[in-house]
Point group: none
């Protein structure tokens, strides 16, 4: 089987059925968060008694970030199982992620324990930032299944993962890994030859070296260096990299001309900074003090949230432009929408169908201390989407050019609800024939914890939808298959009582 | 006068009254575009007969980009005057920007011509990416007024400008330059000591060197290198730089601990790539061919637009989070709004009042490729809040225990709108007396870029609200002050025609 190099598309993205993560630090915790959020069960092993707390902190950040990143229907979260041993963690795992300290002998000892207990088919990936996979796999029984899968912090948000095989790794296993990582929303980059530090970290290393000299020589402080990056080329690099940026700068004359112009600078006497500066206590203190001045007004937790909110906003911005990391986000969302019809789906027809259920996020609360009025329509929109999928309007149908657009909405906001409460919606087809679909939703707070035992009616939503041809954006008839499913549901719901409040106008 | 170092705020941002730009290439043209867009008249000199065409191309890109970047009221564009000589170009200019080829003798000859004709008070800034200002000013009559102001392509969008003084430059002149550049929406970064290539380009240089080795050794292609940047650390660097990112990664243990962990990597045997690779014809051809494969499907003009649209979207995303380059954008917009006298709140009563205006965020887009139905209610909720503030229901009123809750909503979704479009709402009071408040909103897409010139009606929203006592959560009368303001607005709006669609029920 041939290896697809570089950023070639992954032919069959498929998330692993079960995974294990060995090591619960920032990187291991980030892997756990990404996997869990994608509905993958994860066994974790870390001997540190603080690991569960640390992983829980990363999970909290990840939930906040991913809740803001996408409106696509996330699967039910995977189960997180803290295991007592590596053997327990890896049992039954299809993908085993190693994220332990960067020492070859430590990693090799972990692989020996993994191999003694894991399935013979399990794929093992190392999160190392620099050790060669040929060295890592050197003492393994089945070295062909080990490769480096180097992620970037925060792992639950940044899409890049560098895949690097060693001399024994098979091309087939690199493709399996690419499929798994694409399946959890990442951008696998297959590195063609192994080299210390791979690709991205070589750049980070080079920049770090220059930055240390600049601080040491008093040219710029840590904050000034960061500003030189984030107000300038950092904005370019979030979307294009080095070469495409220079291609544009070079203009019509082309890349070769650009290199001819820029190349000679390489020979200028800037070589001093290629040495490695001595990391004296004094230099470490200078950096540490400057960093305190720059960022000390924010706690690390605050900085994490700021960073994640910015990453979310940047990725959404790129998604709107269908470019780079935004395109990776789109592909992941499409897959999430695809996964929904198979999952759940209330298939009763003798009563309104349950079409959404979740907790009220804190972010949905407004200055009145309750779920904001606009969030009621979020709930009804989700309920409408569930009815859509039920009648066969799924990602495939959308891709083929059909959809329903809402043309009219009537909401009665009957009661308040607060953050953390469990809410659910039921949906009834009032009319479904030809181009038209009229829906009536009830939104409830579930009984139980903090609520009375009976569900409490929060709102009703009445909606008129029209089927459209997504290309011409004009009304059209649904496919025969969708029409048939809708007719069946509409006929069953015709037997239900007409809901109180249907057909009402404001103030009537 | 003391120099404020680094990114210290500029105390008195003030754009120059008139400027000159010597050199009309990509950088010179970018300076012209930024100055003109900020209402500054610019004299240009470039002996190349193609210069007017090249500058016009940059101007077209800049107009497209800045039109999307901000909704703030731009001043009338400055005048662009192609001069027949340097003397003509610099006459009367307060700021003279030099952007000629990177050769010391060429630049020095240009300064001699400038000094022969310019005002004695004119500030002269060089756009050089690497030559020391002390060398540049060495033969000048008034060397104290020359400094480097190194911008980044595209100059009309990227906010960074590195300010570097030479041995004769006065601190006062560096502050004058900082004030001018802040006045045209930039982020001046004062570099503490002069050094070849200053700060940002040292990093670009280091990364470029590594990248050449990686291509030469067949580790990665130009596209793979770009992907390693833009799917990973490039997203981090658009918002935080190197040190703040690592501070977060290091966690509670602090920066010194992070360096202790990461520092030793510097001693690993990765030194080969610190040499400068020979730029053989073969290597240049390899890069050029790979770049064609990567980006050749887009013309340079297309790539420029893609780059600019992405930069705009990223800066808007950061603005929403009040961070980094987004904060620079906000400051510039605030200054633009300040310059427009009495453009304040809409206090008309003879027509529906404007109650919200913004661009459609990318995150509001759903699988149908348009603003999701639920976001229509977000817009109307914002419009309702604006009416609330207008009648005195503000933070103080809420704290005192009064508010309005929406009890019923009717939306007609009349047309689609996509991410990036400017939308606005107008609001009319249909009824406002006792505990009740009935509102009718219209949501429009503004005319302009990508839209027809006339606003396009997207939706109407009709809403019934009830005044409540926030403590008892039961209905109550508003305060006399609120009731009076509401009565006044309601009386004025009673004279307006009743909006089409008011009082409608679904399917009626």
């Amino acid at each position: 089987m041939a290896t697809s190099a570089g950023s070639a598309p992954v032919t069959a993205a498929r998330k692993p059925v079960r995974a294990a993560v060995i090591g619960g630090g920032v990187i291991g915790g980030g892997w756990v968060a990404r996997l869990i959020q994608n509905g993958v069960d994860v066994g974790i092993f870390d001997p540190d008694p603080e690991a569960p707390r640390k992983v829980a902190e990363v999970m909290a950040n990840a939930e906040h970030a991913i809740g803001r990143l996408t409106m696509a229907p996330l699967p039910a979260p995977g189960e997180m199982i803290f295991a007592r041993s590596i053997a327990d963690a890896v049992a039954g795992a299809e993908l085993i992620v190693e994220a332990v300290p960067e020492r070859l002998n430590v990693k090799q000892a972990v692989y020996a324990e993994i191999e003694a207990a894991a399935s013979a088919e399990a794929l093992i990936t190392s999160s190392t930032s620099g050790i060669l996979p040929s060295d890592l796999q050197d003492e393994m029984d089945r070295p062909e299944r080990l490769l480096v899968a180097h992620p970037f912090n925060p792992v639950y948000l940044l899409p890049l993962v560098e895949l690097v095989g060693g001399r024994s790794t098979t091309a087939e296993n690199i493709e399996r890994a690419a499929s798994f990582f694409a399946g959890i929303g990442m951008h696998p980059l297959r590195i063609r030859k192994e080299i210390e530090a791979f690709v991205a970290d070589r750049f980070l290393e080079a920049v770090w070296r220059e930055a240390l000299w600049l601080v040491k020589d008093g040219i710029a402080t840590t904050e000034e260096i960061d500003d030189a990056i984030r107000f300038g080329f950092g904005l370019r690099w979030a979307q294009m990299g080095l070469f495409e940026t220079y291609r544009v700068a070079g203009g019509e004359a082309g890349m070769a001309h650009f290199i001819a112009q820029f190349g000679p600078c390489l020979k200028w006497p800037w070589t001093k900074l290629m040495d490695v500066p001595e990391l004296t206590d004094e230099l470490v203190k200078t950096i540490s003090d400057q960093s305190d001045t720059q960022s000390g007004m924010h706690s690390i937790r605050e900085l994490e949230r700021i960073r994640d909110d910015n990453l979310v906003a940047i990725m959404q911005a790129l998604k709107a432009n269908d470019w780079g990391a935004g395109r990776t986000l789109s592909a992941w969302e499409t897959a999430l929408y695809d996964m929904v019809p198979a999952a759940a789906a209330d298939d009763s027809t003798d009563r309104p169908i349950e079409t959404m259920r979740q907790q009220v996020p804190a972010a949905w609360t407004d200055y009145n201390g309750h779920m904001n009025e606009a969030r009621y329509l979020d709930c009804f929109s989700m309920a409408t989407d569930a009815v859509m999928r039920r009648i066969g309007v799924d990602a495939g149908y959308l891709a083929a050019g059909g959809s329903y657009f809402t043309v009219e909405t009537h909401i009665r906001h009957l009661d308040e609800v607060t953050a953390g409460s469990e809410i659910f919606a039921t949906s009834q087809v009032l009319h479904g024939a030809g181009k038209k679909l009229q829906l009536f939703h009830h939104l409830y707070a579930a009984g139980g914890d903090g609520e009375s035992q009976e569900p409490r009616l929060l709102a009703t939503g009445e909606h008129m939808l029209i089927h459209v041809d997504i290309n011409s954006r004009s009304s059209s008839l649904p496919s025969d298959a969708v029409a048939a499913k809708l007719a069946e549901l509409a006929a069953a719901h015709d037997a239900l009582p007409r809901p109180e409040g249907a057909g009402r106008a404001i103030g009537s």
